[in-house]
């Protein structure tokens, strides 16, 4: 915060310098006596001098005032002329505050700093506002209006009225109105005006006006005004709460989509095939590393393709993870069908091997995976901020889900998968090559995990441990949603995501997560088969 402010100050100072250089000299000469007026002793005199400068309406005055309040102005004892001074070797380097022209040097004993107190500072602020409110530069006016709104100085009401009359930009005019309302609230104008002003602020809503309304509510002794302020406050707080809720839902949906992506492959291997694949997270990791490799190749060879890197990585990640999945199924899992606990252990072993393989190959550290341009940045929607990568991941997770549904429901392969999982001997006697279907189904689940890895590489660290972070969550989602039910996985993922984000503000991120885990543990006790349980003999053994 502090850092930001100081950076902002330097920015302003630079701007001021640039501006100074551009001001025509003739103009500056007219200002000279007024500027020297700043050198008179006494705060009251200083304040007057500031007022006189502001009254010129000359834009060149603004940077001078800025220097004044920054403490950069000095008066030369010998002729009481005013300069901007910066420390230099053997004393100070002087410049003309209006033109920025070099004015020689001075020893530190020869000049006095012009001291400002709060009253002067306020006068400066007000003066600068009035100057910039009239500026031809629209950005300046906007900034000035916003500043006036923040300060809400009653003395500026006439000025604001003046500016309002001239203002052509609707946005700025609205801000000016707000500034005026804020100023009225601090003035001693009649209650009716104040109440009207409160209405203006209330209509604006948002966090910005809360402070001003709270102040007036606290300070006001008048019943009607106080009540109006209180009213406005509660209404605004209510709206803000709604927005907060919406933001939480948004975060939750975002987390939910991540969970969905991570879990959806598992929903197939575990949910449909009944295979406990502890190496599932590593499939996600493989997908992420595939993205990394693709991006490396593109960076080094065809940089202009970078924005397409994810699109290229998707099919590759599917293939890599899917292929590894098929291998695992053929080499390990097929010998363990019907022994879920052993499958669990064996695939855990596979996960260790995959992790170590990636660690040996790519090193133990995080690898850099970049966001293509369309994945970076954010946009605003009402009071909400939505980042593009989060948004695309939500979209992507839903697309993957829909595609998977289609494959399972509409294709011959999907039909065979369901046939095999429901009645193996029957399917096999009807000529379905069940081992093939097993391998391919497992490959499909793994491939989808790989695809998820491409997406997750955009928001998570790509390291050998990437998968570990998802495995427990994925199992929780699948189990919570109901094993063997893809819709359950969808609902489960978003429910858990949103629940997590709603708990976070109250409990903190870690405790929120713990609470969700505990909740799921308890939930499984109540409904051992999850939210959308399949019933029937098939699940009872």
């Amino acid at each position: 915060m502090v850092d930001m402010i100081s950076r902002f100050k330097t920015l302003l100072a630079t701007l001021a310098l640039v501006f100074l250089a551009a001001v025509p000299a003739a103009h500056a000469d007219d200002l000279k006596p007024l500027v020297d007026g700043l050198g008179k002793s006494g705060y009251a005199a200083l304040k007057d001098a500031v007022g006189a400068l502001a009254a010129t309406g000359d834009p060149a005055v603004a940077p001078i005032l800025q220097s004044l309040s920054a403490g950069d102005l000095y008066v030369r004892k010998s002729d009481r002329a005013v300069f901007a001074a910066t420390k230099a070797e053997g004393g100070y380097k002087l410049t003309d505050p209006a033109t920025g022209a070099d004015a020689g040097t001075a020893a530190s004993g020869e000049i006095d700093k012009i001291k400002v107190n709060n009253a002067v500072r306020e006068a400066v602020t007000a003066a600068r506002g009035s100057l910039t409110l009239m500026s031809p530069d629209i950005a300046k006016r906007r900034a000035a209006a916003a500043e006036m709104f923040r300060n809400g100085d009653p003395a500026q009401i006439p000025l604001l009225d003046q500016a309002l009359a001239k203002e052509t930009d609707a946005g700025i005019a609205a801000t000016l109105q707000l500034a005026r309302a804020a100023a009225i609230l601090k003035s001693d104008q009649p209650d009716a005006d104040k109440i009207a002003a409160i209405a203006v602020l209330q209509a604006k809503g948002g966090r910005d006006v809360l402070g001003q309304l709270t102040a007036i509510e606290a300070s006001s002794t008048d019943g009607a005004v106080k009540a109006a302020a209180a009213n406005a406050l509660s209404s605004i707080r209510g709206t803000l709460k709604l927005w907060d809720g919406a933001q939480n839902i948004l975060y939750g949906v975002s987390l939910g989509s991540v969970l969905l992506l991570a879990a959806i492959g598992l929903a197939i291997t575990f949910g449909v095939m009944g295979v406990i694949n502890m190496a599932h997270g590593e499939m996600v990791m493989l997908g992420a590393y595939t993205t990394f490799v693709v991006q490396e190749l593109i960076r080094n060879n065809v940089p202009w393709l970078f924005d397409w890197s994810l699109a290229i990585a998707l099919p590759l990640a599917f293939l890599v993870a899917g292929l590894v999945g098929v291998l695992i199924e053929r080499m390990v899992i097929r010998f363990l069908y019907g022994r879920p606990l052993e499958t669990l252990l064996a695939t855990w072993g596979v996960s260790l091997i995959l992790q170590q393989a990636v660690r040996t190959w790519f090193g133990p550290n995080n690898r850099e995976v970049g966001n293509p341009s369309w994945m970076s940045g954010a946009f605003e929607l009402g009071n909400l901020t939505i980042t593009y990568n989060r948004m695309w991941i939500v979209v992507f997770s839903l697309v993957v889900f829909a595609a998977l549904m289609l494959v399972l429901k509409r294709t011959a392969f999907g039909l065979q998968t369901r046939a095999v999982t429901q009645n193996r001997p029957m399917a096999s006697s009807m000529g379905i090559r069940t081992p093939w279907v097993d391998a391919l189904t497992f490959g499909l689940g793994s491939g989808i995990a790989g695809i998820a890895g491409v997406a997750l590489s955009q928001i998570d660290n790509v390291s050998p441990n990437l998968g570990q972070g998802y495995i427990i969550d994925s199992f929780m989602v699948v189990v919570f949603g109901g094993v063997g039910n893809l819709w359950g996985t969808l609902v489960g993922a978003f429910t858990l995501g949103i629940a997590n984000k709603f708990l976070e503000p109250y409990a903190g991120a870690v405790l929120g997560k713990i609470l969700v885990l505990v909740f799921i543990i308890l939930f499984i006790q109540k409904r051992p088969r999850g939210l959308f349980a399949l019933k029937g003999r098939a699940v009872e053994a």
Binding site: F270, V272, M273, G274, V275, I276, V332, F335, L336, Y337, G338, R339, P340, L341, E342, L344, L345, A346, W348, G349, V350, S351, L352, I353, Q355, Q356, A357, R359, T360, V420, T421, Q422, N423, R424, P425, D438, Q468, I472, F475, M476, V479, V483, V510, L511, K513, I514, L517, V518, I520, I521, L522, I524, Q525, K526, P528, R529, A538, V539, E540, A541
Partner: protein, 385 residues
């Protein structure tokens, strides 16, 4: 009644095992203390500490085997009980530091001073007494297991579902203990111990005593397990493992049996953790990591589940291997070995080393593999059951 129950289990084979464990428990510390470092019979202290650690691992493995090998409950969360026991002991050791900590606060452990805490949280009361800590070492894991099991077994959560929620349990605890405001030292855990029961924790004699205590605990654990397994209760456990619903239809309330053995097993794991901590010198949230619990399971699988010697042998074998590997140039490849071990043992050695030897030595077939090979469709069902 209890003595009768315990003595009954003392057949020849059990007696031999107990004698061997206790013999080692006495012999090694004696060799460490009574021989000259240059003597070929000398056992260096670091070896003693290392082996002591293995013994506590063996006890942990035994506790996992009691529920998995004999009752079919595959716990992926026993590391949590182990760690809770460890924290119980760690808290005692922390309070023994007294004002010798960096900040010299006579009451508050260093990390609390660091966090600017003004007084000891209530749950640290009593840990200045060894007996209290010892009680907590048993009760904390026992209570957690009891509550967890009460819910889980009553609602008939079994198979992989149970495994997964045990894993979630230890994961949740991992997250919780990482938090500073839990009051257990957060990330860094508890460490810098000075002495135990008034003896310098670094002294050779103390190390020897801790080693012996670990051996004795392992022997006692083995004996108790043996007694449990030999009783009718143990037969019911195996019946539950083989055909849970059949057991119900004969009239046994399965959840009660599971709850008893689960709680007992958790307490054993807690004792193992409590003996582990003073020898290692630290306990931190990492002990709750799900990977640790699964590693304990693989010790049991390697040694042979459903036998009581198996887990002990497995824990020793795997950890010897780990030490050997990770101290050499091959350190990087240890995870390949461990991962390969998981795969190969489940595929080719489902009975483990001891189980396979016993079958070969063929007195009578020990056991069938726990589940018959069934088609995946049915597997989905079993997963649900």
């Amino acid at each position: 009644m209890i003595t009768a129950f315990i003595l009954r289990a003392l057949d020849r084979r059990t007696s031999i095992v107990l004698a061997v464990i206790l013999g080692i428990g006495i012999l090694l510390p004696v060799l460490n203390l009574a021989t000259d470092p240059s003597s070929p019979f000398h056992v260096p202290t670091y070896v003693l500490t290392l082996l002591g650690k293995y013994l506590t691992y063996a006890l942990l493995a035994l506790s996992v085997d009691l529920v998995w090998g004999f009752c079919g409950i595959l716990s992926l969360g026993h590391g949590a009980f182990f760690a809770l026991g460890g924290y119980g002991m760690g808290m005692y050791l922390m309070r023994q530091i007294g004002d010798r900590g960096t900040y010299g606060n006579p009451i508050l452990p260093d990390f609390m001073v660091f966090l600017n805490w003004k007084e000891l949280p209530w749950f640290w009361y009593g840990f200045d007494h060894f007996w209290f800590a010892a009680l907590i070492v048993l009760l904390a894991p026992g209570l957690l297991a009891f509550v967890f099991g009460w819910f889980a077994f009553r609602s008939r959560v079994t198979g992989v579902y149970l495994s997964i929620i045990t894993q979630a349990m230890t994961y949740a605890l991992l997250l919780a203990f990482f938090r500073n405001d839990m009051g257990f030292g957060g990330n860094n855990g508890l460490t810098d111990f000075k002495d135990i029961l008034g003896f310098d924790i670094q002294a050779d004699a103390t190390r020897g005593a801790l080693f012996f205590a670990s051996a004795a605990a392992l022997a006692l654990g083995f004996w108790i397990c043996r007694a449990v397994i030999a009783s009718k209760f143990g037969k019911v456990l195996v019946a539950v493992r083989d055909a849970e619903s059949r057991t119900r239809f004969i009239g046994y309330r399965v959840e009660g049996y599971k709850l008893v053995v689960w709680t007992l097993s958790a307490m054993m794991a807690g004792v193992a953790g409590a003996l582990y901590v003073p020898q290692i010198g630290i306990i931190n949230p990492g002990e709750f990591a799900p990977a640790n619990s699964i590693e304990a399971v693989i010790w049991v699988a390697v040694g042979g589940r459903g036998t009581l010697i198996g887990p002990i042998v497995g824990a020793l074998l795997v950890n010897f291997g780990k030490t050997w590997f990770t101290s050499g140039m091959l350190a990087e490849y240890w995870l390949f070995v461990l991962g390969g071990l998981f795969v190969l043992v489940t595929l080719f050695l489902p009975k483990g080393v001891v189980g396979s030897l016993m079958t070969k030595g063929s007195r009578k077939p020990v056991e069938k593999p726990i589940e018959d090979v069934v088609a995946p469709g049915v597997a989905a069902g079993q997963a649900a059951e």
